[in-house]
Each structure stands twice: as C-alpha cells, then as structure tokens.
Amino acid sequence: MQTEHRIIQQVIAAKSDSLAADDLIQSYIPFILAEASKTIGKKCTDADDEFSIGMIAFHEAILGFSREKGAFLPYASTLIKNRIIDFHRKERRHLGLISLQESEDEESDTLLDRIADPENTIEERINLHATQQEIEELSKVMADFGVSFVDVADNAPKQERTMEACKLAIRYAIEHPQLLDDLLQSKKLPLAALVNGSMVERKTLERHRKYILVMLLIQTNGYEIIRGHLQHSLKSRTDTMSMQCRNGGNRE
C-alpha cells in the first residue's frame, strides 16, 4: 500500500517533468524488460528495439495515468504490450526484404560489406560531429534563455493551423534580421514586433513562445546544418499559401 502510494506520487510528479519521468523509467527498467519479454515470448535485453518501445510506452503510461482510472502498473503493462504488438505489426511489412547483414554462407561478405555505403564515409562522420557541435551550442544558448529541448518539444504546436501561424511569425522574423539581433542582445523575444509584422494573434504566439524562440535562435548565425535540415519547410511555401495561413491564423 505504502509503495503503491509512492509510485502514484512519483507518476503524478513525472507527468509535468520529462526528466523526472526519465528517472522513474530508469528505476523501472526491470519491469519494462519483464513485460517486453512476456510480450515477445523470449528474453528481451536492453539492446532490443522492443526495450526502447517499452520505455516509450512506459512514458506514455506516466502521461496518460489518472488516479481515478485504476492502478498504474497494470495500465503501464497494457500499454507496453500494445505498443510492442503495434511495432511488430508495422515491422511485418518489411518481412519480404532481405537483411543487409545476411550472407550467402558463413565466410562470404555480407550484403552490407559489398555495396558502397554513402553514409558511412569519413565525410559523414565529420558531418555528424559538426552537427553535434551545433546542437550542443544551440542548447547552451537555449539554456541562457532558460529553455530546454524537452520544454520545446512539449511547447511545440500540435495543430496544423497553429503551426502555420507560428511559421508566419518565424518567416517574418527571417525577413527582418534586425529582430534576430535584438533577440540575441536583449535575450527577449520581440513578441510585439512579431504580432504587428505577421498579423498573427498575440495569444497564439505567447502560448508557443518557447518554440518560436528556438526556431528564431536556429535562424541566427552559426546553425547552418540545422537550418539546412529545416530549409525545406520554411522556403517551399508560396505566397498564396501564406495568405491562406494568415486567414486561418486570424480565425483562431
């Protein structure tokens, strides 16, 4: 009874704090492994994909738990089982494909060895390293603003229309680099200027201010790789599209 009570408290606390949830999951790894093993019918190690899926399912259980609906651990166990079954169903689509690691006989090279691997070149490794550095730097700047990636992920707009409205504001900022400089100097998001410039409602921007902040930071100098990754989304929009989005944003 006492332990059950404690776990409920922990779960409730972890609901709003992703890092606390991470800690809670850490302490329940044996439970997750046991549930995953039960579902796949063989021993599940922490190298298996099923383990990762079990952990994310456990995380979902923390977020979805409510005191009225019953005990936590049976709920988590159900979610883990369902998630792994879903995953296997998805994987079955690839059953007809052959594995890169497969070899015709024991001695010969595997398929992976024989085909040229464009991603595994030294260049790619350098790229990866550069990306890592960029992200590290970005997270440092974000820390100055008091924002973490977890916050951003929780704060990111979920609805398509809201997303478009936020992008309008971001695009306006890109077109007016002065705003970005102001942001870096004053460490404050120039909300008023964004609202005036993009005609998006202030409430919408305020609700997603952390997200907008990170997106604007990415647009400042020094994050070419991340910007390249995003380029597709911010530049492919035509003006007619943005007009539609503006209307949608106003209605919201």
Partner: protein
C-alpha cells in the same frame, strides 16, 4: 521524412523533423546529431485527445450512412409493395378487359382479353386513375362504341388472394356500376372457382351465376319469384313454381333444377353397384353402370307411378326413389345382371 536527433534521454529522444516539429520519440539507441528516418513517436496526451474525436466522427458518419440506407430501403420496399398489382378485375361485356389494381385501388395496367377489349382500351390512358374512374370511363366508352346496349349484361370478376378485399369490392363495384349506368344494365358478379367448392352445382359450370339476392331484388325481373322466396323456403314449393312458369324461367333457376337432378342421379347410380355385388370386377361395374342407367330410366317411371300419384314431376320421383324403392331397384339390377 528525415528527423534530426536533438537530445537523447534514457527513455526517449527529442528529434526535429523537416517541418520544424520537435517530437518525443522512442530512443532506439540514437546519437545526438544523427539523422534518422523511422521514429516511434510518443503518444502525448494531446494526441490521445484528438484520436477519439476522429473515431467519433467516423462512427457518426457510419451511423448516418446506416440510417440513410435503412430509410432508403424502407422507401423502396414501400414503393414496390404499393406499386405491385395487388388484384385483377375482369370486366366482360362483349369486350373483355383485365384491369390490374394495387392495394390503394389505383389502376396499374389494363389489357384487352379479346379483340373488342383491345379495341376498347386502344388509346385509353389509365395512369393515375382510380378503379372507379377507369370503370366509369370504360363503360361510357363502350356505350359510345356500341358495345354496351340496353339489356346487355355486364360481368365482373375479381382475381385476388385477398378474400376480404374481394368481398368488399364485389359489392362496392357492382353498385357503383349500377349507379353510374342508372340501372340500365344487369351486373353479374362472377366468383372465382375455388370458393364454395362444396357445392357440386358450381363445379358443373364455371360461368354459372350465383343467385345473389341483391341481383334479383335490384333488377326486379321476377316479382313472383321474389314473393315466393319471402313466403316460403320450402324446396318443394319452389320447384313447383318453377315448373309452372317454366317459359319465363331465367338461367339460374334452370341451372339449379338441372343440377338437383344430377345430384340425385349420381347418388342413384353410385348406390346401386355398391349394394348389388361386392365380388364383381371393376369392368363389370362399368358395364353394369352403363346398363343400369338405361334400366333406371325405365324403372323410375313405374316405381314412381306405384308410390305416387301420376301428377308428380321429376323432382318428387327422385326423392321417393332415394327413400323408398331402393331394394326394389337393386333387385331389378340383379335380375338384369343375371340375364346378361
């Protein structure tokens, strides 16, 4: 979709997709800075809220579709039920016409049963008209074309499985026709064969007309007959009357008269062989019956003359033959058989 891994935690990773979304995904041993293609996204509470909404909408759509389907089925079945011909009415003057009606008495189809009937309905539009209206117009038209003249008989017959419907319509339609033609013509109702099958009189001829009392009363052809019907129901007196005014006799009474003879005759014939010999073969039976018919005819008169005054007619003699002199006739038959 490409995802760039931004941050890794033990249980999840945060990735940035190409549209600028930050997502929490299952950490399949990712590395910060790595670009991945397939991620297992975490179902956040927001996502969970949207999913039931979609399902509800779909369920609602299904429900609406099902209801619409049921409704249209109902409509179609109703339409089929009422548009299907429910009964047929045969109208025979000399032109013979078949009129198909539905349950609501709307005329669905008209066909001529003979050449005159086809000529009568040629160019006639019956669509969206009731049975009464069509009858009126057809009768008027047949008067116009000279088919229907004074003294002619209009015969109507109903063909349906619904006895209640037929009963009600026989009366209604015949009185309607009479009203329409100001009683200038006689209307006969011909019942279907299968009704009143117990009476052998009807089996004899299909076209024979049942002496429905309203027919007599309204046509008023035979005042004497009507009086007799009222005063006495006795069969003997009726038959006597019939015998008296035989020249004026109308079809139905003659029919019944003949039939009563037949009934007695068949009884007579069938009784004799049964009483006579049980050991004779079937062929002999037939032969005997043929013989006996003649014999009976010969024998009847002497027998009746013995038991009754000679003034009595055939009907009386039959009754007596049935009751009294059976042993005698059978004896005669035996003697005949022996002679043969």
């Amino acid at each position: 979709m490409k995802y760039m891994v931004m941050e890794c935690h033990k249980s999840f990773a945060i990735v940035l997709d190409e549209d600028g979304n930050f997502l929490k995904v299952a950490n399949l041993r990712y590395q910060v800075g790595q670009t991945v293609y397939d991620v297992i996204e975490m179902n956040t509470s927001d996502n969970e809220e949207t999913i039931p909404k979609v399902i509800n909408l779909r369920k609602l759509a299904y429900a609406v579709a099902a209801m619409a389907a049921c409704f249209s089925l109902f409509l179609i079945s109703n339409f089929l039920l009422y548009s299907k011909p429910y009964a047929s009415m045969y109208l025979t003057i000399n032109p013979s016409v078949r009129i198909d009606v539905d349950k609501e008495d709307r005329v669905k189809n008209i066909e001529g049963e003979n050449e005159d009937g086809k000529a009568l309905i040629d160019g006639y539009r019956f669509q969206n008209k009731t049975l009464d209206a069509v009858l009126d117009e057809l009768l008027d038209k047949s008067v116009e074309m000279g088919y229907l003249t004074t003294g002619k008989t209009i015969r109507i017959r109903f063909d349906t499985k619904d006895d209640v419907w037929r009963m009600s319509h026989e009366e209604a339609i015949s009185s309607h026709i009479r009203n329409h033609l100001q009683d200038q013509f006689e209307v006969e109702i011909i019942k279907p064969d299968d009704s009143d099958a117990s009476e052998s009189a009807l089996e004899q001829s299909n076209t024979i007309v049942i002496p429905v009392t309203p027919t007599f009363e309204e046509t008023g052809l035979h005042p004497t007959n009507r009086d007799n019907d009222e005063y006495s129901d006795d069969a003997n007196e009726n038959i006597d009357d019939d015998a008296d005014d035989s020249p004026d006799d109308d079809v139905p009474d003659v029919g019944t008269d003949d039939d009563s003879d037949d009934i007695d005759g068949t009884n007579h014939e069938s009784n004799n062989p049964d009483d006579r010999n049980d050991d004779s073969t079937f062929d002999e039976h037939i032969d005997n019956r043929d013989d006996n018919e003649d014999d009976d005819e010969r024998n009847q008169n002497p027998v009746s003359s013995e038991s009754r005054p000679p003034a009595n007619d055939d009907g009386q003699s039959d009754y007596s033959a049935e009751a009294n002199p059976q042993p005698q006739t059978s004896l005669d038959a035996d003697s005949n058989y022996g002679d043969n």
